[in-house]
Amino acid sequence: MAEPYVELKSVSKYFGSVVALKDVSFDVCPGEVHCLLGDNGAGKSTLIKTLSGVYTPDEGEIRVQGKPTRFASPADTRNSGIATVYQDLALVPLMSVARNFFLGREPMRKFGPISQFDADFANRTAYDEMSAMGIQLRDPEQPVGTLSGGERQCLAIARAVYFGAKVLILDEPTSALGVHQASVVLKLIVQSKARGIGVIFISHNVHHAYVVGDRFTLLKRGRSTGTYAKGEITRDQLLNLMAGGKELVDLEQELAKSARNGTAQG
């Protein structure tokens, strides 16, 4: 197997008396989709924030390309090629797609002593980068507010990739989307993978994760219940492993039983 780009080794994180993460190991290789699954409160957010440099681990270490690393800040993490796409996507709805794409890193063009925003370059690049991810923009100057949910994800991902992300951390990218838009985002994940980017896909939707994932790590109450390659585990086993999976199966059987009883009586 390829060498992991980023690696957490036996990481623990405590908040006072609360054990948020205990002895969790996690890694992602280039060109791989590693899904991080878990119910609410399982420690997914803490793990993401540890990976993206918001928290420093209390125990264990982080390695980037094999070298032990300490992230000083989220910006520091970004500079080492790990980009986090949060649920709010860091987009400004009233601004154009191109201006959002380059927000904070504006391309400038010199005209004698003055340098100004290179709108042509920004428009062209935003358009090209998004079509490389499979989304055809109508107009790079349209406000982000006019984009669909999937298109916004595409913008956020394309931007991170353009600015040198080797690993993308996607925080619940499909959770707020409808069926069609969610499939657009899943295609984006496959596209990123095809471009050699390691994707950490955080979700509590096993169906979405199973379609695109290469490996799956389950978190339960701050601990990892193990990492499985796709060949080693079926979708149903994965569902059962997740908190709530077993409850749902039980509920299903119970409902089926009462339905049978209902028809028998009727």
């Binding site: 601004m95 380059f102 904070g104 100004q116 925003f117 490389a132």
Partner: protein, 365 residues
């Protein structure tokens, strides 16, 4: 390879439709309407004679000098209610050192710009650091500055007015920057060929265009360039549109806002410099309600009160409408008491129209 199949929802957007979603549209249309209205009702009264035009341009130019930076600040999502009081304060800062302490005018002007810029930075810092709404913070500065102006002026001069600046400024190197006239030769030429009327003594009815108009145009163009063509402009839109997203992307939101508060304060100082050097005196009550007039001009100009969207060109149209209506009502002979009713109503209509245009912009493509 990604196939080059175009989205079936693509349709070419006409230039007209693009134009219709610009923020300035309402103000430009409003300007035309107001001009037509007064051309009909006040056409013969002299409102559109050379003299009348200079009169309303004077009002518009002074307000427009404030409105351009206020527009940028409002696009960044903040208000500055202290600009009116800052005008009074700056006027006193120019006049007192010159009249009572014998400073040359240029020195007291530099001093005033420095002090006002500093107070603007304090306003900005207070807003950014405390996280309080700028409406409240600058409402505080509005009262504090007015009180400070009154207290200082009466303490030093014993009165609330300081006059006698004219004589001192006469030979000052900076005087003509603020109180002079431009294009006198052009005006004389136009009068000679009969395009501009002459007075009984044979001189043109106006001797030139007040330099405040130049400031107005230059500031509007500079602010427009900043907003649409500079990196700083991108930050302004982002700070007002979604400050958190901007911060996450490394945009210095706090620095952007503080810079804009300094700019509005400097614009107030410029307004005061023009007023003091043109009239030759400073008064503690100068600039009262200018903060609201500037906001009205900006809002009529298509800037959203919630930030993130707007234009400096629009603010220029807003200021132009303000001047034309104010002088137009005077020229038509309508009681000027009605002016404020008119402007207030106009602003409410503008706000309704703006939210319509904004919704259109968010939908139309």
């Amino acid at each position: 390879m990604v196939s080059e199949i175009r989205d079936e929802r693509v349709r070419s957007v006409s230039r007209l439709s693009r134009l219709l979603s610009r923020p300035e549209l309402g103000a430009a249309a409003g300007t035309v309407l107001v001009f037509v209205f007064f051309a009909i009702t006040a056409g013969s009264s002299g409102l559109f004679s050379a003299k009348g035009i200079i009169n309303f341009l004077e009002v518009s130019a002074q307000l427009g000098i404030l409105a351009a930076p206020v527009a940028l600040l409002m696009i960044a999502g903040e208000f500055d209610l202290s600009v009116g009081s800052m005008i009074g304060f700056a006027g006193i800062l120019i006049a007192i050192p010159a009249v009572f302490w014998g400073w040359p005018i240029w020195l007291s002007l530099l001093f005033t710009f420095a002090v006002c810029g500093g107070i603007g930075a304090l306003n900005g810092l207070a807003v950014v650091r405390t996280g309080l709404p700028s409406f409240i913070v600058t409402l505080g500065s509005l009262f504090m500055l007015r009180g400070l102006t009154l207290g200082l002026t009466r303490g030093i001069s014993g009165r609330t007015q300081v006059s006698g600046v004219h004589e001192l400024a006469l030979h000052d190197p900076l005087n003509s920057l603020f109180s002079g006239q431009v294009f006198s030769g052009l005006i004389a030429g136009l009068a000679d060929i009969g395009l501009i009327g002459k007075r009984a003594d044979g001189l043109p009815s106006i001797s030139g265009i007040p330099v405040s108009n130049v400031w107005w145009i230059v500031l509007t163009l500079a602010c427009t360039w900043l907003l649409t063509r500079s990196r700083f402009g991108n930050w302004i839109f982002a700070a007002g549109g979604e400050a958190n997203a901007a911060r996450n992307l490394g945009v210095p939101v706090a620095r952007t806002k503080i810079t804009l508060f300094v700019m509005t304060a400097l614009a107030a100082a410029l307004f005061a410099a023009i007023q003091v050097l043109v009239t030759g005196s400073a008064d503690t009550l100068r600039g009262t309600q200018k903060e609201f007039e500037a906001i009205i001009a900006v809002v009529i100009g298509g800037t959203l009160l919630t930030g993130g969207y707007g234009s400096a060109i629009g603010a220029m149209f807003g200021a132009l409408i303000f001047g034309v209506v104010q002088m137009g009502i005077f020229y038509t002979g309508i009681d000027t008491d009605w002016f404020k009713l008119f402007m207030g109503a106009m602003m409410v209509i503008a706000v309704l129209f703006n939210s319509y245009v904004r919704n259109r912009a968010m939908r139309s493509r």
